[in-house]
């Protein structure tokens, strides 16, 4: 495999692997460099929600794009990543959140999201298992969930089958702009070169963006995940609590095998340097209490395993996506703040388009890295710049 390509992608999560896949479908050569194995970090430990509902309106174009990909995932990837169009429902306990459900439903309609908001008797008829504190439910019938442990690796394998050069177990220590493109060097001295560079290294992206004069306030946090024993398959909806009170914000989904995947509540400690994250025992106990509140019928079940991982958050909980403001040919996609899984393939397809065509119809300005302290964005670098040739 050559050490030169059109594009180097640093980071083998859902963003990097899907971008590599879509670049190969556009016949662009790509080298993907991953410190460990594909999909091991945030992409592999998250809840697995394939959820458009609730995203900032600016994300919905890519999120819709992503959903189309999820629906076709099996045939696109040649593997089953267990996507289930189960629908996604969010519920709330507080009146102001219920009001927000109605407002969001109206706004999101323009973006192709057809949400149904229920409350009271109609809601309890639809979801008889809900705890009686629930005030309203917002249902997104076409959303769903998938298996996060399988998805990014499957995109990676599909990209490799199409000819992408996937290099795992490779830590990148130096990235430099040079004439004609970029030079990327690993800890063992291996070097790769490409015209364009995409940094989608999650919690570790800041170390790289800083090398190009674009530091961002990225914070690592650990999702608090748990899974139950397998029990009869009864909960067809992926469901979560929408609330500003972190401890209340739990979510769950049941897979056909029967396990319920649980998550949410207060986050746990995560350290990007040591690549370790933990679940605080107290968080598990509190999370479980909140599940009893949300669905009292879960009380007889047992949690059989908990896990965490390193997710990374930006202060406005929106990702960085798009071109560098300092360096032509450099692009970013990271900081998805716990919501990168569903949208990942849509971002990947969009980035492939951007890198290949030099432009995309999807507005990326809201996600520009420029919002983190660039005094003036470099004028020649924006979403519709022609690629360096």
């Amino acid at each position: 495999m050559s050490d030169r390509a059109d594009v180097i992608v640093i980071g083998g999560g859902i963003i990097g692997t899907s971008t590599a896949f879509f670049l190969r479908r556009r016949n662009r050569s790509v080298i993907l460099l991953e410190r460990g194995l594909t999909g091991q970090q945030a992409s592999g430990v998250n809840f697995g929600g394939v959820r458009r509902q609730g995203r900032a309106l600016s994300q919905l174009a890519m999120s819709n794009r992503a959903l189309d990909i999820w629906y076709q995932a099996k045939s696109l990837l040649g593997e089953d990543v267990e996507f289930l169009p189960s629908g996604h429902t969010r519920v709330c306990y507080h009146a102001h959140d219920a009001e927000y459900f109605h407002r969001y439903a109206e706004q999101a309609r323009a973006y192709g999201l057809d949400l149904e908001v229920l409350d009271g008797a109609a809601m309890f008829r639809r979801f008889p298992f809900l705890g009686r504190e629930v005030l309203a439910a917002s249902i997104s019938p076409r959303d769903g969930h998938a298996n996060p442990r399988l998805a990014a690796p499957a995109f990676g394998r599909a990209a490799a089958r199409l000819g992408a050069n996937l290099v795992e177990n490779t830590e990148i220590v130096r990235v430099e702009k040079e004439a004609g493109g970029f030079r990327v060097e690993s800890a063992t001295g291996a070097v790769w070169r490409a015209e364009q560079l995409l940094i989608c290294a999650g919690a570790w992206a800041n170390a790289l963006s800083t090398q190009f004069g674009e530091p961002v306030p990225l914070v690592a946090r650990g999702p608090q995940m748990a899974v139950t024993e397998p029990v009869p398959y009864r909960f067809m909806h992926s469901m979560g609590v929408y609330t500003s009170i972190k401890e209340e914000s739990v979510y769950f989904r049941q897979i056909p095998r029967g396990n319920l995947v649980l998550g949410g509540g207060a986050p746990g400690p995560a350290d990007a340097t040591t690549r370790r994250a933990g679940v605080l025992p107290g968080n598990t106990v509190q999370q479980i209490a909140q599940f009893r509140r949300l669905v009292p019928g879960l009380a007889p079940l047992h949690v059989i395993r908990v896990w965490s991982g390193v997710e990374s958050y930006l202060p406005d909980a929106e990702p960085v996506i798009g071109p560098s403001t300092t360096t032509a040919g450099l692009f970013y996609a990271f900081g998805f703040s716990g919501s990168g899984f569903q949208i990942g393939p849509g971002v990947g397809e969009t980035l492939a388009e951007l890198l290949d065509d030099g432009q995309t119809a999807i507005p990326l300005e809201p996600f520009s890295i420029a919002r983190f302290g660039r005094a003036e964005p470099v004028a020649s670098v924006h979403a519709s710049t022609a690629s360096e040739a």
Binding site: F129, P232, R234, R257, G297, L301
Partner: protein, 106 residues
């Protein structure tokens, strides 16, 4: 139905009724729920992922094979739970029907 376990000692203990899949059976004082079930029939539950039945494995609370449903929708680990009068266990998913789990709100 054939019992799986064979009592070879500690005969003569007082017995009490439990219910297994809707049928009354006798347990002896001191029985674990697992022994009470397997002294009356040959399995504890349906296997989740194949067509077979399961009857426990390690008897010491390690393998987690012997979890059973009660008719009230509770989960009990049979080998570490004493059998108690009035226990009603559902060992066949097909007999569980509505109401074993999950409990809908009234």
């Amino acid at each position: 139905m054939n019992a799986r376990f064979v009592r070879v000692a500690e005969a003569g203990r007082p017995t009490f009724d439990i219910v297994i899949d809707g049928r009354v059976a006798q347990a002896a004082e001191g029985d674990t729920l697992m022994v009470a079930l397997l002294a009356a029939q040959d399995a504890l539950r349906d296997s989740e992922f194949d067509e077979g039945r399961r009857a426990g494995f390690c008897l010491m609370g390690a393998c987690q094979d012997c979890w059973v449903w009660t008719a009230q929708g509770e989960r009990l680990r049979a080998c570490t739970t004493p059998a108690a009068p009035g226990m009603s266990i559902v060992t066949r998913n097909s007999l569980a029907g509505e109401g074993v789990w999950p409990h809908a709100q009234g």
